[in-house]
């Protein structure tokens, strides 16, 4: 049974602009759904509508939780202004924990766990305004994770993060999904991140969801380039030789025409079966 079911969601902004145009979506417990799409496709609007910041004109949002109530939501929206700059990281977390109604008796323990998790434990008593942009992002994430949410809504969570932090974050998402069984809906432009964490990817275009298709990713680009990291067995490397270039030290480039299905078959095999990391994707003319 899906924990979230969205039916025919319509959101209209003055203009009028149909930001969401009859959108349907389901999300199950333990699932990470990555939401891809161009700027202005409606990704942020969808997340804001789900968390109640935007009211839909039409449609239905149904939550399936054991008690039939709306699940505890953890929300990280784009931007790093989710806290008070004149308070420390710890003071911010404690303040928002109180607003979220978390019990005070176990709060210190919970906050310590989260600060360790996002790697801000050492900086917890520094003013949030003095944090670097990556640290601000991590503090925003920590606030989203307060109270162990049932459903995480993430909008460009890796923006501003360095590669090491992105990898740690990917591992963390996998862990909380496995351990806590939560659901995650994540809007991102970072395809390597989406490929690594997603159990399902959907593509948003003009306010409607489409099933994932490679063609929707590259638009007008005629060639696609993928940078990969990891070990490829000799046999597989031979199989995809015309497309693969070995950069050494476990770095590979996979390149081919966007209308050539082999390149995408190779990519899926390398990522899913050979467990390579996808570092970067871009389209070229």
């Amino acid at each position: 049974m899906p924990m979230l079911e969205v039916k025919h969601l319509v959101v209209e902004y003055p203009g009028p602009v149909r930001a969401l145009d009859g959108l349907d979506l389901t999300l199950r417990r333990g699932e990470i759904v990555c939401l891809l799409g161009a700027n202005g496709a409606g990704k942020t609007t969808l997340l804001k509508t789900l968390c109640g910041l935007v009211l839909p004109k039409e449609g239905e949002i149904r939550w399936e939780t054991p008690n039939g109530q709306r699940p505890r939501l953890g929300v990280l929206l784009e931007g790093s202004r989710a806290f008070y700059w004149n308070l420390t990281g710890w003071e911010n977390a404690a303040y928002f924990a109180a607003l979220k109604g978390l019990p005070e008796d176990s709060l210190d323990e919970h906050l310590e766990e989260l600060f360790q998790l996002v790697g801000l434990w050492e900086a917890r008593n520094r003013l949030a305004g003095d944090y670097s942009s990556g640290m601000k992002k991590r503090l925003s994430l920590l606030i989203a994770l307060l109270g162990k949410p049932d459903l995480l809504l993430l909008d460009e969570p890796t923006a501003g993060m360095d590669r090491v932090s992105v990898v740690e974050f990917e591992e963390y998402l996998h862990r909380i999904v496995q351990e806590e069984g939560i659901g995650i809906l994540c809007a991102t432009h970072l395809l390597s991140f989406a490929f690594t964490v997603a159990s399902r990817m959907v593509y948003l275009e003009k306010g409607k969801l489409k099933d994932w298709e490679w063609s929707s990713l590259f638009g007008r680009h005629r060639r696609a380039v993928f940078l990969l990291a990891g070990e490829i067995p000799q046999k597989t490397a031979e199989q995809y030789k015309p497309y693969l270039q070995d950069f050494g030290q476990g770095r590979w480039q996979l390149e081919g025409a966007t209308d050539d299905k082999t390149i995408f078959k190779a990519l899926e095999e390398l990522i899913v079966e050979q467990d390579l990391d996808l570092l970067q994707i871009y389209g070229v003319d």
């Binding site: 959101v11 902004y13 003055p14 930001a19 609007t45 804001k48 968390c51 109640g52 910041l53 935007v54 009211l55 004109k57 939501l73 929300v75 929206l77 931007g79 202004r81 989710a82 806290f83 008070y84 700059w85 004149n86 308070l87 003071e91 404690a94 303040y95 928002f96 109180a98 607003l99 979220k100 109604g101 005070e104 606030i143």
Partner: protein, 243 residues
Amino acid sequence: MNVQAVLKAEMRRVLVTQRRYWFSTLTNLIVFGVVSVGSWVALRKAFFKGEGIYAASAALLWPLVLAAFNTASGELKEDIKLGTIEQIYLSAPSVLRLLHLRSLVSFLESLAFTTPMLLIGGYYLGWATLGRWMVVQVVPLWMSLYGLGLVIAGLLLVYRRLGSLTNLLGMVVMALAVITLPTQGAWVWLRHLFPMVGASAMSGWPEGWWLRYVAAALYLFVGAWVFRRLEAKAKRLGLIGKY
């Protein structure tokens, strides 16, 4: 919403900020004291024909008026400016209730600021007079101005550019609070309907003074209702979180 926990968190936030920026807090206290004494002297000569009792209450009133009117709109304006408004909406089950609690904390904060002046005022005017003034004038004034402030806060969610007008409106309500109104005839009853006007008068117990509380509660109720309507409009237009 756990009212007690949120109230505590709000008080902690205010205290931490006041302590962290102690020099600014100290400066504000000094400025407050100087302006209060200065306005008492000036108002006494200019408007109250040497009646110190009116001028003293006017001098004590201004910080309370500003705090009451500005709490809701000022807090939201600050959150809109800082960009924390979305987080507030995501964390607090009801922003309106959060504003009520913030108003209470703000009232206590402004009382702490005015305490030295209130002590001087009480000594100078008499404790009974001061207490009566608080009951008859100050509390209904606070409630009604907070209600009007909620309307402004709601408008701010929809019309961001109104933010710069709130300071001007603050001056207007301050002026209205200290003007003197006739205390005879129909005015006695009429002024009960507008607890935010002419609240500097420190008279006895005017006839039907409790009506001020009824009127104040009405302003509060209407303010909350308008705020909710405008909040829903802001959500429909996708304006929450637009900086």
